[in-house]
Each structure stands twice: as C-alpha cells, then as structure tokens.
C-alpha cells in the first residue's frame, strides 16, 4: 500500500547509493523536485535509467550522483546538447559516466518486460546497427516458430522508479493524464516507487486518457506542488520554456553550474513538499 510521506522521507527510504533509479516522464510530468531531493541527499553511484533524459538528469549527473546512464536519447528538448552529460562522458567530470545505449522501442519494451515479470522483450530493430555488437542487454534471438532472426533486450527492473503525477487520493491511488510516457511500466517494473503529485485529493475523478496507478502498486506518495518545474503538469502549470533556454548557458560552464546548484538545489528545501500527515490530521499514513 502506498504510504503518504514527505518528499525527503520518500527519497530517504527508497534511494540508496548504487541503486538503479528510473525517473520517467515524457515532455510533461518530469519529476524535477524528486531529482533535486536525490541531489540534496547526496546519493552517489546511481545507475540512472530513462528513455529521454533531459535537464533533470543533466543536473544529477553534474552533481555527481550517477556512475552510469541507460538511455536512448539525451538532450535539452528543443535547445540542444546536455552539457553536464557531455562533460561527464567526454571528460569524466565530476565522475566518469558509463553509458548503456538503446533505441526508444528497446527501452519501452525493456520496461514492459520488467513490468510483466518476463526476463526479456523481443523486437525488430537493432540488427544492422552498431548497438547490436556492443550494447549490454542486447542479444540475437531466433523466433521458435519461424526461425526469423530478431533482437532480445533484457528486462529493466529498477530498484526505484520515480514519477510525477497530477493527483493522488488519500489511499495513495494516483492518476496522471495528458501526455504520458512509460510511467506505468516503470513503476510496475521497479522494486520500490515514489510518486510525487501536485495535489492530494479526497477522490480521483476519471479523466479521458488518464492512467491510474493503484496504491497497492506504489511504495510512497509525496505531495510536491510544482514538482515538475520547469516541465509542467497539465491542469496545474505550464512549461517554463525560458528555463530550458537558460539551462543551456547555466550548464555550459562548470563553475556557473556549481553556483546554480548551490543556490537552487543544495541550499533549497523541497518546494511545496509539506508533510501531508501534519497538514491533514486525518490523512492516511
């Protein structure tokens, strides 16, 4: 059953040094507040997993949290490169970053396999590419029925999945809507999970295209209003495009980045992450 706790508690109880951590979200609902909390708790040697790592992983990599990245596309959406990511891969600053590169479909299928309790997924793709020979978790496989040569990709089973959603109810059931990625698969594939939400409501109302994650599939829910910023939460906030542009400048230079990190993350407290149990005496613990 999901327990409703503060963001700091949720991260403290789930994310350990050396863990494999998947923080998912696509364009929308990216769990920035949770990523900042991981940085503040100075977690190290994390294996970060995400289909489309963007600036939250750039910040975590630059802060020295990660030793490896499992991904299929890493960039500042609509802007360009991730400079902290590149500095880590190219110059090992602040720590070497090992890469495990997959295609989008490969990553999505790996999550599905993990969520389904299966050891691998099968897809058409990778064959003929440079990944087929060097990627971890990639192997040739023959179809047992037709003999067709295909690719097997190993299941992703993160220690922790972290996502951001619009709402949870008092029992810890979660609903997200709008543009969604592979949040559901990531949570179901992971051993432990944290869902930050814009708001905790009495009851969830069904939304068109909404995804409901039942409380029994989630470890911890924490309220983090604005927790997707500079990404957004449909119905609650809009995307801060200026920040994505500004990040290009902040992140280019190690010193500028370090100052930004000190001021905006290490020196800050979780924004909007009040402890629900004290704010709502009747809340479920």
């Amino acid at each position: 059953m999901a327990e409703i706790v503060s963001l700091a508690e949720a991260i403290e109880r789930t994310v350990n040094d050396g863990d494999t951590v998947a923080m998912e979200g696509f364009t929308h609902l990216i769990p920035h507040a949770a990523g900042h909390e991981v940085i503040r708790q100075r977690r190290r040697r994390l294996i970060l997993v995400r289909m489309t790592p963007d600036i939250i992983y750039d910040q975590m990599i630059g802060a020295g949290c990660a030793s490896k990245l499992v991904f299929s596309w890493g960039g500042n959406p609509g802007v360009g490169s991730l400079h902290r990511f590149r500095d880590a891969v190219e110059n090992s600053w602040p720590a070497p970053l090992e890469l495990e590169e997959h295609s989008h479909a490969g990553m999505a299928n790996r999550y599905v396999a993990g969520a389904s309790g299966l050891p691998f997924a099968v897809l058409r793709g990778y064959r003929g590419t440079g990944l087929a020979s060097r990627g971890a978790g990639i192997a040739d496989i023959s179809c047992p029925f037709t003999g067709e040569k295909l690719t097997a990709v190993s299941a992703l089973r993160p220690d922790v999945a972290v996502i951001h959603a619009q709402q949870a109810d008092l029992a810890g059931n979660v609903q997200l809507w709008g543009i969604t990625g592979v949040q559901k698969e990531a949570v179901l594939a992971a051993q432990r999970s944290v869902v930050t939400v814009e708001e905790i409501v009495d009851t969830l109302e069904p939304r068109p295209g909404g995804i409901v994650l039942p409380g029994w599939a989630i470890s911890y829910v924490a309220e983090a209003k604005g927790g997707a910023h500079p990404s957004y939460a449909l119905g609650y906030s809009v995307r801060d495009n200026d920040f994505y542009l500004a990040w290009d400048q902040i992140s280019r230079d190690r010193a500028t980045f370090s100052r930004w990190l000190d001021e905006h993350v290490l020196g800050a407290t979780p924004s909007g992450a009040r402890q629900v149990s004290s704010a709502r005496p009747g809340a479920v613990r």
Partner: protein, 244 residues
Amino acid sequence: MTAEPTLAEICVVACAEAWRGDGAVLASPAGLIPALAARLAQRTFEPGLLVTDGEAGLLAPAGDGSVTEGWLPYRQVFTSVASGRRHMMMGAAQLDRYGNQNISCIGAWARPKAQLLGVRGAPGNTVNHPVSYWVPRHSRRVFVPRVDLVSGVGYDRAAAAGARYHGLRIVVSNLAVLDFGTPDHAMRLRSVHPGVAVDDVVAATGFELAVPAQVPVTRLPTAQELALLRTVLDPDGLRDRELG
C-alpha cells in the same frame, strides 16, 4: 508581387517532396524544417498524411492554424511503426554512401570525442518503415566514408538485418537533394538547389557520389506553397534562421 523564395523555403519544399505518394501514413518530422515540410505536404499534395507534432498529437489543417485531430501517445507509436506505415524524416550527424546514419557519438563509442544525443528511434525506424534525412549543413563532416556508430541502418546492411520495410527515400541538404536510386543503392545526386554547382556538392561530400550526366535544379516552391509557408505555417520566418 511575391518575393523570391529563400534557401530555407526551397529546402522545406524539397523535404515535403519526401512524402509525395505516401498516402495515409504517419509522417514524423524531427526538427523545424521537416515539420514545416510535412505540414506543407499535408496541406497540398498529400492530404492523407497523419502528421505528428513530436509530442502526442496528430495535426490537421484548420484555416490559418492546426487542430489536433488524433491522439497518439509515445507508447502507442511503437505499436504502429512496425507495420511500415510511417515515414520519418530525421537528422544525421554522419551519413555514409549507403545511408548508414549516426546520431550517437563522434569518435570511439567507449570514450567519444563528442557525445551526441543517442540513437533514439533510429534502429527501429530504419528497419520498420521508410526514413528520409534532413542535413542543414552539407559538409565532409556529415557525409563521411564510414560512420562512427551505425544508429540508422543503410542499404548495405538492411538485408542482413532482416529489415522488412527498410527504405531510405531522400536526403535533403542545404545544397542538394540526394537519393539511393542506383543499382547498388549508393547515394546519388538527384538535384542541386538553385545557384549550387554539382562540383560544390561533390566537394562537400566525403565519399564518391553517383552523379548522373544531367543533374536538374531542385524545383522552386509554387506561389501557393510560398503563400502557405509565409502566412500560415511559419509567419514568423523561423525557417530562415535555421539556415542562417
């Protein structure tokens, strides 16, 4: 009186031509010029195209703008692409003679000189459905004898990869339009943009390019296409900045 077409406008129309004859397929453009191109094709000669917005919507023309006519979130794309009924236009940091594409890294994969964005969908796209490429700066850095990491599969590797719907249609650059219409599917110069000499393209290409005896000039945008681009699809003229 209509102002002369700019290079960017010529490139948008050349990219739009990639989708000619495709009918009702998912048109997935990556980047501004391909996005304008797909929407231009949809508004003119390929009205059946389902144009993705890069996030989760399918765009349809509506007067002076667009409406979202369909909803295709990320995970559902993967169930659609394997049918071959998608034609994507991607970028390329490197391309070789047979259309092998690299968007992953420059230099050794283990310790690259430049870490790029990653292979993204290229390994699946190129074996599952047609793909075209847009290269805003045609040079020997992009058109190389051998790519550092094959992200998208070229013609010389497609058969061995068992690719059922492999097909590289065209490559549009700021200098020319190229295709793979040779017996062994080696890259061929299809047309040069106005004012560009064949020798300019050959000099800016790092491998032997198939050059027909007669190389036509890339067609100019029609008055209707120009009007659509300038007043409806891109009134702020963002297209010209991409080629600045």
